[in-house]
């Protein structure tokens, strides 16, 4: 015999407005994001970027690694002998630049998403634990975080990437490691503030365990901060991955990556084919810009002090 309480029709009717309010809240959040022109533009650019990266195999005019030796170093909008025109030109091996940029977006987005997931999960956990427990735990965690943070991030990322070897997954590890300290510090600060609230005291008085308090009360309140940080750090990660690829420590060729395209054909042939140095840079800039603008828009929406400021 089932011991689970049966949901009556009356209960369902009572819950329906709550569910509708929840759905309306997400809808109104989305509407708020699109009301701000920078947020709306950023959102559109990100959607286009994600779409073209996911469906690059279908949307790109040519496969990223396909060589056209007869069409080396062709300028933008050159007609192809058979096939789609080379909208952004070709490189020194006759590869279509637009196709490589679309496929290169995969690397940037994949690295960005992986770094964000890894570093924000670890950083948020460390920050909450550090801020909540305080004392020796806080001291040890923050000294380690301070030590990592004191080393110039680019140098440490380069050293770690060199340590691990050039590959996409190693780039994720290297950038994640150096991205943990900033979010740990911010979340720690927010946790220190949150744990002074009375509902935390009340939860303790009711016998809630520390893990329960952290995940049920602290985490939901720091989550808006994490969301803003996710978008902003996506931008930083794209730049970091491009820097590593530029230095030859990122995704190895022939897999296209924006930084790698700038470093290899862009720098070597820029005098005869300047487009090889221009288009990958524009792609990196647009991607970084859109995530920065998205982060700004999210902060405006999620930070109560900014609501109604306009």
């Amino acid at each position: 015999m089932s011991t689970q309480p049966q949901m009556t029709a009356a209960t369902e009717d009572a819950l329906r407005p709550l569910l509708r309010r929840q759905q309306n809240r997400y809808l109104s959040f989305f509407k708020s994001l699109l009301k701000k022109p920078p947020g709306a533009i950023a959102f559109v650019i990100i959607v286009v970027m994600v779409f073209s990266a996911v469906f690059a195999d279908i949307l790109a005019p040519y496969p990223a690694l396909e060589l056209h030796p007869a069409s080396r170093l062709k300028p933008p909008m050159t007609a192809a002998a058979d096939g789609a025109p080379y909208v952004l030109g070709t490189d020194n091996l006759g590869r279509d630049v637009l196709s490589r940029i679309m496929h290169g977006a995969r690397i940037s987005l994949w690295v960005g998403a992986a770094v964000v997931i890894v570093s924000k999960t670890i950083g948020t956990t460390l920050g909450m634990v550090s801020g909540f427990f305080g004392g020796k735990t806080d001291a040890i965690i923050m000294r380690i975080v301070d030590a990592i943070y004191s080393i110039p991030q680019l140098i440490l990322t380069i050293a770690m990437a060199a340590m691990l070897g050039p590959s996409t997954i190693n780039v994720v590890y290297a950038i994640s490691f150096t991205s943990i300290p900033p979010v740990t510090r911010v979340i720690r600060g927010a946790t220190l503030s949150i744990k002074q609230n009375e509902y935390i005291t009340a939860a303790r008085a009711l016998g809630a365990s520390n893990p329960r308090i952290i995940f049920k009360y602290v985490l939901p309140n720091v989550f808006p901060l994490v969301i803003v940080y996710v978008s902003l750090s996506f931008a930083g990660t794209i730049l970091a991955e491009a820097s590593l690829s530029f230095l030859g420590l990122g995704t190895p060729p022939p897999t296209p990556s924006w930084g790698g395209m700038l470093s290899s054909s862009g720098r070597q042939f820029f005098e005869v084919a300047p487009w090889l140095a221009i288009w990958p840079g524009i792609a990196i800039t647009m991607a970084t810009l859109s995530f920065n603008l998205m982060g700004d828009a999210l902060r405006d929406i999620l930070d109560p002090r900014m609501r109604g400021a306009s």
Partner: protein, 315 residues
């Protein structure tokens, strides 16, 4: 304030030890035998082993770290593996003026553009001037500095067939050639710094301009120039000055890629080549220097902030 400074200096010690441990661990885990790299592909295994013993690389890692730390505390950062006739301190001192010059020029150029841009942008809020300045700031933050550097080399080469002199010369050797080499790199670096400062400067200036004392100053009949100079600018620049201080520390560490592109023999280029060559001593020495620069610039910023704003008091 003195007690605060002393506490911060004491706090730096465990952080510095942490920095050295992290750097030591990272470098030792990098694949590749430094002795084999130095002797070449066809080296005799016995010779490689002998060199490892000479360099102390056969000892357990904690012994290596302990010896390095003990020597570092006494001012001896060891010798370069790549160039055994040169100590690490000599290698660092040789290149330090180059990096400092590049960082200084980058920040100076950045400030020359960004602070006036921030003031004008705030005064002309929501006009085309403001929108243009904001767009350029946002682009400056988004554009990778290695791309900007590449374009700075690219366009003069295409338009005027101009290229900077290939061999670096110090300012005291040939100021003109030195500036030809440093200024393009400084512009590439400074563009990013100026973007951040302009954004923050505009934001703080707008906040200050909304304050009651500014309205009172105008109500008293003071001209706009006087209001800006005597009241608004000083207060608006307090957070900006702290940002500049923080950026200086980061600037010194952020020159690596730019030095590589422009072939400038600074600390950044030194550390990149040392990482590739597994020159552990040089990497540890340079990272220690850069970390100290970051920590001292952070401390300087905190002290400066308290000095500029009398409301700030450190207990």
């Amino acid at each position: 304030m003195i007690a605060y400074i002393i506490r911060r200096l004491i706090h730096m010690i465990p952080v510095l030890i942490g920095v050295t441990i992290i750097t030591f661990a990272v470098m030792r885990v990098i694949p590749g035998d430094v002795a084999a790299l130095m002797l070449g592909e066809n080296a005799n295994p016995q010779d490689i082993q002998k060199l490892r013993e000479t360099l102390g690389l056969n000892q357990p890692i904690h012994i290596q770290y302990g010896e390095w730390l003990w020597n570092a505390v006494r001012g001896d950062l060891g010798t370069s593996f790549r160039n055994p006739n040169q100590t690490v301190s000599e290698a660092i001192i040789e290149r330090l003026p180059v990096t400092m010059q590049l960082s200084f020029f980058a920040i100076a150029l950045g400030l020359t553009i960004s602070i006036p841009a921030a003031v004008i942008s705030a005064l002309k809020q929501d006009t085309w001037i403001d929108n243009t300045a904001r767009l350029i700031s946002i682009l400056g933050l988004a554009a990778p500095n290695f791309w900007v550097g590449t374009l700075i080399i690219l366009f003069p080469a295409i338009w005027w067939h101009y290229g900077a002199p290939p061999t670096y010369q110090y300012f005291w050797q040939n100021p003109i050639v030195n500036l030809q080499q440093i200024l393009p790199a400084a512009i590439a670096l400074g563009f990013t710094y100026s973007a951040g400062v302009a954004r923050m400067g505009r934001s703080t200036m707008l906040e200050v301009l909304r304050q009651d004392y500014i309205r009172t100053a105008y109500a008293k009949g003071l001209p706009q120039g006087v209001v800006m100079r005597r009241h608004a600018l000083k207060n608006a620049m307090i957070p900006v000055v702290t940002l500049i201080g923080l950026q200086f520390g980061r600037a010194v560490g952020g020159t690596a890629v730019i030095e590589q592109i422009f072939n400038i023999p600074g600390e950044g280029q030194l550390i990149l080549s040392s990482i590739n060559f597994r020159d552990y001593n040089v990497v540890q020495g340079v990272v220690l220097l850069l970390s100290l620069t970051v920590m001292f610039s952070n401390l300087f910023v905190d002290i400066l902030y308290a000095w500029l704003d009398p409301r700030i008091r450190y207990s």
